[in-house]
């Protein structure tokens, strides 16, 4: 129990940092966010394809 209590401030700090990062991401420009969405697509597409679901990564032109 004592070990868990010692962990709590560290976990709270990590959660706060994560929250801060999400708000920073929300504040990015639209084109920057779209680039991140495409990165997410690249990460997720192979997993979806392996499950037999079609997933096409956007091929951005002119951005």
């Amino acid at each position: 129990m004592e070990a868990v209590d010692k962990l709590k401030p560290e976990i709270a700090r990590l959660i706060a940092a994560k929250e801060q990062r999400r708000h920073k991401l929300a504040a990015l420009s639209f084109p920057e966010k779209v680039r991140i969405v495409v990165q997410l697509q690249r990460m997720v597409a192979p997993v979806l394809r392996a499950r037999g679901r079609p997933a096409r990564v956007w091929r951005l032109t002119g951005d």
Partner: protein, 165 residues
């Protein structure tokens, strides 16, 4: 995506669309942290065809003539699968009329207001829509008064309360 938006603007200029605005996950991404999606939902008001029938066929024909091919429910426009969704109810018509004018790089475009995205999510009512409402509440700059009026106009207050209480 900028070229995709240029094509959407050209379709509107040419009268194949009366008006368009980005909706769905990409519109949510405009207001909140990036949300994974594989297609670009574009809400549209279509010109009234003869016989009062609303059809996407002339739009698809025009896109095919420009070399853009259909992929399932979408049309691949400059590398982005675009799903055209005709505004089929009063909420969507209002959302399109009041969509936010913005720009993507040097290209003008429109994105549905965050309040309308929240109301549309409530109206659609799936689990992922509930998650979208949570995200919009947490991160989007929602105008509370405006949102309340939208929810009231479209009889969505009960589910809103259920989802957010």
């Amino acid at each position: 995506m900028e070229k995709t938006l240029e094509i959407l603007n050209a379709l509107e200029r040419d009268g194949l669309l009366v008006r368009y605005a980005i909706g769905g996950a990409m519109a949510a991404t405009f207001y909140v942290e990036p949300v994974l999606t594989f297609d670009l939902d574009v809400f549209v008001i279509l010109p009234q065809a003869a016989g009062l029938l609303l059809t996407l066929a002339p739009l698809y024909d025009a896109l095919r003539a420009r070399g853009y091919t259909e992929e399932g429910e979408c049309v691949n426009i400059e590398g982005v699968p675009v799903q055209f969704l005709p505004a089929h109810n009063a909420l969507l018509e209002e959302a399109l009329a009041e969509a936010r004018e913005t720009s993507y790089g040097a290209t003008a475009t429109r994105v549905l207001r965050a309040e309308h995205l929240a109301a549309i999510a409530v109206q659609t009512g799936r689990d992922k829509d509930r998650e979208r409402v949570r995200l919009l509440l947490e991160q989007a700059p929602l105008d509370g008064e405006y949102l309340r009026a939208v929810l009231a106009r479209h009889n969505l207050e009960a589910r809103w309360k259920q989802w957010t209480s």
